[in-house]
Symmetry: C2
Subunit: 131 residues, 2 copies
């Protein structure tokens, strides 16, 4: 079960789905060429409407992460995101600033947050062993 929805999360359902797939690809749970659950399947499993899954998959296709083919299904693409490095860093800056603000505001040592970040990144990058 790749897609899980957290109703408590204020983030839109379709973006949660997008993140789930991105995570799965990052960790290696999904590899290039792998088929995603069909839209109808995923909708049932995640207990959301087909349209919501459809929108998420569309978003993923725009990100260049997957490729959907009518009648066939949706599959993980080898092509990574095609943003320039410059663009990527700029996109990160917003998130970084936000995190920094929270860190300072709540007076949590920056090193603690860095440790959390390292761990979280490691979790994503390493688990490509199991299948």
């Amino acid at each position: 079960m790749i897609i899980t929805i957290d109703l408590n999360n204020n983030k839109p359902t379709y973006l949660q789905i997008v993140d789930c797939v991105r995570r799965a690809v990052a960790t290696g749970a999904l590899k290039t060429g792998d088929q995603l659950p069909t839209i109808r399947e995923a909708a049932v499993q995640a207990r959301v409407n087909r349209n919501t899954i459809s929108r998420a998959y569309l978003e993923l296709e725009h990100l260049g992460m997957i490729r959907s083919r009518q009648g066939a299904g949706s599959f993980v693409t080898d092509a990574g995101p095609d943003l320039e490095h410059e663009e990527r860093v700029k996109a990160l800056q917003t998130l970084v600033d936000e995190l920094a603000l929270e860190t300072v505001h709540y007076q949590i040592p920056v090193d603690d947050v860095i440790a959390m970040l390292r761990e979280s990144a490691a979790k994503l990058g390493k688990e490509s062993d199991h299948d």
Copy 2:
């Protein structure tokens, strides 16, 4: 001018205002006891409706950052946020995970992001000298 709104930012206006004040407090641009712009003033300066400022100030009051008194104005409070350490860390985890996902996804070295984070946090924490 403490409050600035970025129309391009998809973040709600009132939350942007909240962040502005939090940043100002973090950097020392606003100190305990300082008066914030009045709701009407701030609304004119930021070119938004009074209600939007009002909502932001209310949010800040809930955060324990400011205290508003009818007829008097809104002032920075000395009491910091009253969340438990446990709670704070949990609140951070979501942001950290999100950042980690972007980092891995875009294949940006974690150390780069950490450098960005350090710089961003330093900017917030240090500028209490001027003024």
